[in-house]
Symmetry: C2
Subunit: 354 residues, 2 copies
């Protein structure tokens, strides 16, 4: 039984906390300043109000203000379950308290910009922790198709755990070995994290097909628009592959659970697909957001806003091959410049595509 702290009591952090409890660990679920209602509810009777499940008794809930009291020498693992905007906050909370060599497992997905380059969140965390004199913290991440509500319901889920340190990887795989949780190991932290971050972004484009269908309706012969969605899905995978390649990840991650698998599940359900659908009806991003999804975090759009300007600069400099990322450019223009989402078919299939 390991003592584990999960930082962030949103749906994924909490569902993962339950998994860790199911596999026999003592879990300290720590809410951020946004999670106080959740923490209060879990404390009262175990119920997580968003996941709509009763968490096991060996998940105990705390506020981030109590972190100092619970981070001690017995902690074996820190799990980051905050959202991507909360990573710096989490580093600032945990940095002063963390013992050297305690690994961090990232559930948080996203990319960060540093200077004129993109980096994965584990890199950002690693660099952030150096401010606290922590230079050797091992980092790992979870990728793959895992909707939090289904994990919370203990429904069969397949994931990939990425960690360059194979001994730690083995330990993590054993740590989460539950009958409903099928974890594969990978040492390709870069590839897994790039895939995990980008799937939300490209789901905006795959969702476009649903919007087009809503706008134009069934064809007189009853035909829908699955071909359109599948074409966009494939182009998304090709562009994810391009980014993984230039950032130094491995192709296996792209068409494994982290890439194809997670893109698949993200296209079947969720907020990014809903936003894509709105864009597919012809709405502009800002109108779609403010009128239809004002209170939702659209991770793919948030990512576009974080990396859009840098992407354009990298394309202008030739560091990213423009011909390799036509769909990426369309999504960035739709979200960052509030332009109609256009599908640049003629640019998808140039034979000299990198």
């Amino acid at each position: 039984m390991a003592k584990i702290i999960v930082l962030g009591a949103g749906v994924m952090g909490s569902a993962f906390a339950q998994l860790l409890a199911d596999t026999g660990n003592q879990v300290f679920l720590v809410g951020t300043h946004l999670d106080q209602d959740i923490i209060d509810s879990v404390r009262a009777d175990g119920t997580h109000p968003k996941l709509k499940v009763k968490l096991p008794e060996n998940v105990r809930a705390f506020s981030y203000t109590q972190l100092e009291d619970i981070v001690d020498q017995h902690v074996r693992l820190i799990v980051f379950g905050v959202n991507s905007a909360g990573v710096d906050w989490a580093v600032a909370r945990i940095g002063p308290l963390l013992k050297p060599q305690v690994p961090i497992l990232m559930l948080t997905k996203g990319l960060a910009v540093q200077g004129h380059s993109l980096k994965i969140l584990p890199q950002a965390v690693k660099e952030g922790l150096t401010q606290y004199g922590l230079s050797g913290i091992p980092l790992a991440a979870v990728g793959g198709p895992c909707i939090a509500g289904e994990l919370a319901a203990r429904r069969q889920s397949s994931v990939v755990i990425a960690c360059p340190d194979t001994a730690l990887l083995e330990w993590l795989l054993n740590l989460v070995d539950a009958p409903y949780y099928h974890a594969r190991g990978s040492t390709d932290l870069m590839g897994v994290e790039v895939c995990a971050a980008l799937k939300n972004f490209y789901t905006l484009a795959v969702g476009y097909a649903s919007g087009q269908l809503e706008q134009r309706g069934k064809a007189p012969n009853g035909a829908l628009m699955h071909n359109l969605a599948a074409g966009l899905f494939t182009q998304a995978l090709a562009e994810i592959h391009y980014f993984v390649k230039i950032l130094g990840g491995q192709i296996d991650s792209v068409f494994g659970l982290a890439g194809a698998g997670d893109l698949y599940v993200t296209c079947q359900a969720g907020r990014n697909g809903r936003m894509g659908k709105l864009l597919g009806t012809g709405l502009l991003y800002r109108e779609a957001k403010s009128k239809h999804m004002p209170d939702d975090t659209i991770e793919g759009a948030e990512l576009a806003l974080v990396i859009g300007r840098t992407l354009k600069q990298l394309i202008d400099k030739g560091a990213i091959a423009q011909k390799a990322v036509p769909l990426t450019e369309s999504i960035v223009e739709a979200v960052c410049d509030n332009q109609p989402l256009l599908i640049p078919w003629d640019r998808f299939y140039s034979k000299s595509k990198t």
Copy 2:
């Protein structure tokens, strides 16, 4: 304007005939003995009764008994649109009439067994044609996510045309260059055809998730089973990759339109997914077929019946690595041996997987 013969007036052959007509060709749509009702209807007023569209005037319909009258020196291309069981029949019809050097474009998907090995249908056609003294017939094939009804409704579709002869490939890409049809070229005939054949087979497994969901219902917290479907989708892609690799195809095909794209679309709709769903509820294959889909051709199950025994032999001999194909084995056992479809999770993630 090229004179083109499309052999087989089912949904895909006929939708493709319309595409060829739209791009300015003179199309002779030739029905098999199973297509006479279709041919009569198209002749009467252009209506294809299954596609529920009116075909353009430059698609003219014929019976196979008239082949002799229409195959002449002006024919520039033969398109095979028959189903996989009809390939030998089509070779026997066209073999005695075909002029040397007239290429054949395959829409028909499947694998054939020769001795103890698997081959793609273009290989089978090529070998079959040698009986008629035709040794140099160029062969090409269409893969990728393209539901026939959507193509017939002229909805955006993305495909890959595979042909080892790059000059012919270029000609074919130009031949089908319509605003709603986005064709990419590939020289990897083997990879594209293996992907195209196997996507139906593995969709039986991805459909299992829908059946499980129907049987077990939503979780109390509302959770569905998208994670399960995505895990199976990814495993399917991994096993397709294995087969493409050992048969000499290229990985690009696997996670391009022919592989990931076509598997995606096949999982969204269609008969293979419906059968998979029935298996996912716990029904055995024979009962599911006879009670629920007696009149449907389930291409993935048909393929299992054609190649199942050979697959088992190849696994026994070690020519196929058993650890690389756990899902394949489960599907073969479900269809060929009428066993319950089981998902062998523990076999998916062995780290030494080939």
